[in-house]
């Protein structure tokens, strides 16, 4: 018995140990030359020059569009996605009957902007043309998943013949995680996919899978592994901001080290002007009960994400803020209805159910949850909404069940929401 207590103690102490250490990542907070961005700019100059000499040359236009799309990941400038989109449309005007490639590029841009219905139209056109079907089917899966069409997604997945390929494994992982809620299986598949490409000297693919794996480990509360993934990515590309953001989240949500988390985010905000960082800073301010800072960041986030070029990219967070922080029940219902109309995923329905609840329509909220969310969506945010809905409906047992499950993902949800869960659980 003594040993059990002892080992419990060790486990508990181990859990409280901070994961992040500024010594590991401080070198990535020093502005350094971004050689990859320079390379992109050099190539952009080259093709711009060609295009200036021969206006309307679709090869140059196609190249420039591809370069803008790649540039966006470093610059965060949404106008570059918009430029790429306009160029691809011009190219497609000329080659839409002979090549499906531009349809896929247009679809990829739509996915970035969360314009999934339009992405679906482009993919359907690419499928109808029929060339490079393998590449189109991969994207057919991606779009179907985003639109909540799990049958079409499964069909596309099944049609991939090489079940050990990177392309298959990463999609199978997504399916396991999103549709079946099997995070452990998803992680094994992602690990297999990562093993496949780790020796291929493809840094962008490596950074992509490794940082995604970092996110997956985080969702499974495997913090050390998650941290290691992000550090590996930064060692490969010091300007891979998603990995730095992941470390900031570890510092904030796990280590409760707001000072260092804020330091990372301040650096990111300087280098990579996307709205995400204001959202993170607002949560840090909330934890520190700094209501002025909190309000400033929320206002900045809402203003930035109101730009129509972002499409529906930030709807999830805008909904959350309107429903929970700004107490704008009508506004949140509007976003949820729009989202469900655009992409009827179980997660979108969880917003709708919560919006009904916030508007006082508790029974409608419960019916919506039962029809579209329960057993179909495993996102901790959705489980939180389910718990709150059942609490409002007076079913404390069910409320406790969903909130306790959501609480297991406290790290993923962050201190603000997990604080709300803990408070609610106390009152049940």
């Amino acid at each position: 018995m003594k040993y059990i207590y002892l080992s419990l103690l060790i486990i508990l102490t181990a859990c409280q140990q901070p994961i992040t250490n500024p010594k590991d990542y401080s070198r990535y907070l020093q502005p350094t030359q971004n050689t990859r961005l320079q390379q992109i700019d050099e190539e952009l100059g080259f093709w711009q020059n060609k295009l200036n000499k021969a206006p309307g040359d679709i090869i140059s236009e196609n190249k420039i569009a591809g370069l803008y799309t790649r540039r966006f990941s470093y610059s965060g400038n949404i106008n570059e996605i918009h430029c790429a989109d306009s160029l691809y449309r011009q190219v497609n005007y000329l080659n839409h009957t002979t090549s499906s490639g531009t349809f896929r590029s247009l679809a990829a841009n739509c996915i970035t902007q969360h314009r999934f219905l339009q992405a679906k139209q482009y993919i359907d056109s690419a499928l109808a043309l029929g060339d490079d079907k393998y590449l189109t089917v991969l994207m057919e899966f991606d779009v179907a998943m985003e639109l909540g069409d799990k049958y079409r997604a499964k069909k596309a997945l099944n049609s991939i013949t090489d079940k050990s390929s990177f392309d298959y494994l990463i999609r199978q992982a997504k399916y396991k995680d999103h549709v079946e809620g099997d995070l452990d299986a998803a992680i094994s598949l992602m690990e297999m996919a990562c093993d496949k490409i780790k020796d291929t000297h493809n840094p962008s693919l490596y950074c992509w899978i490794r940082s995604n794996l970092g996110d997956f480990y985080g969702h499974a509360n495997r913090y050390q592994l998650s941290y290691k993934c992000y550090l590996d990515v930064l060692a490969t590309d010091p300007h891979y901001y998603h990995a730095l953001k992941g470390i900031a989240w570890l510092a904030f949500s796990h280590d409760k080290d707001v000072a260092n988390a804020r330091k990372i985010v301040a650096y990111l905000k300087l280098r990579h002007p996307v709205p995400d960082y204001d959202l993170l800073l607002s949560q840090m301010a909330a934890v520190e009960k700094d209501s002025i800072q909190y309000k400033q960041h929320i206002t900045a986030f809402m203003a930035a994400t109101g730009n129509r070029l972002y499409g529906g990219m930030y709807n999830k967070y805008r909904f959350n803020i309107e429903a929970n922080d700004m107490n704008d029940a009508a506004g949140s219902l509007h976003i949820a209805l729009e989202e469900v109309a655009h992409r009827p995923t179980p997660e979108a329905y969880s917003w709708l159910a919560w919006a009904y609840c916030r508007n006082g329509q508790v029974s409608k909220a419960i019916t919506t949850a039962q029809a579209h969310v329960i057993g179909k969506c495993f996102e901790p945010g959705a489980l939180f909404y389910l718990g709150k809905i059942y609490q409002a409906g007076g079913d404390n047992a069910k409320a406790r069940k969903y909130l306790t499950t959501a609480q297991e993902s406290s790290y993923e949800l962050g201190p603000v929401i997990s604080g709300r869960i803990a408070e609610t659980l106390k009152t049940l």
Partner: protein, 174 residues
């Protein structure tokens, strides 16, 4: 000049893409390869194969191309030039489609290397050969190569940068 009276050594460029089926680091396991794309004569695959057939054509071995795509090539030829009778090589629509559909790049070990130099036909392909003009002439130019003058040249007569005299011969990217 009868095309098939020449003895050709047929060579095709087939692009293989590695398709690594190894699950672990076991070096003894073989790699498997699959054809993903192939191209021999410039623009033929691009122009004569529809988007819907593209994947199939790219994975069909040249010896099976005639049987699989011969009639489609002829239909496309006649769609491009409804007035086609014969061309500069004296080939009928059937004969010309048969030549085109087997998409390989021929190389003669004895004749000068050229796509077409007025005497030698498809004895190879030199860098400076104006292959698109040759193809357009054979498709649209009629028996004397003079019909449809507006359609028999792309008006690009040379590379926009001089080729190198030694390996790798191609001009540097610019």
């Amino acid at each position: 000049m009868k095309l098939y009276s020449l003895l050709f050594i047929v060579s095709g460029m087939i692009v293989f893409s590695a398709c690594d089926k190894d699950d672990d680091d076991d070096d003894r396991k073989p790699n498997y390869y699959g054809t993903q794309d192939q191209m021999a004569r410039p623009a033929i695959n691009t122009v004569f194969v529809s988007a819907a057939d593209k994947d199939m054509f790219n994975t069909t071995v040249p010896s099976a191309m005639n049987a699989a795509f011969g009639s489609k090539f002829k239909a496309r030829l006649m769609a491009l030039n409804a007035g086609y009778t014969t061309n500069l090589l004296g080939l009928t629509a059937d004969q010309f489609s048969n030549v085109l559909v087997t998409d390989v790049l021929n190389a003669s070990t004895t004749a000068p290397t050229t796509f077409y130099d007025g005497t030698n036909v498809l004895t190879g392909r030199a860098l400076a050969d104006d292959v698109i003009d040759v193809e357009l002439t054979l498709i649209f130019g009629g028996p004397n190569g003079t019909a449809n003058p507006g359609l028999t040249s792309d008006k690009v007569n040379s590379n926009d940068k001089a080729f190198l005299a030694s390996f790798p011969y191609l001009a540097t990217p610019h």
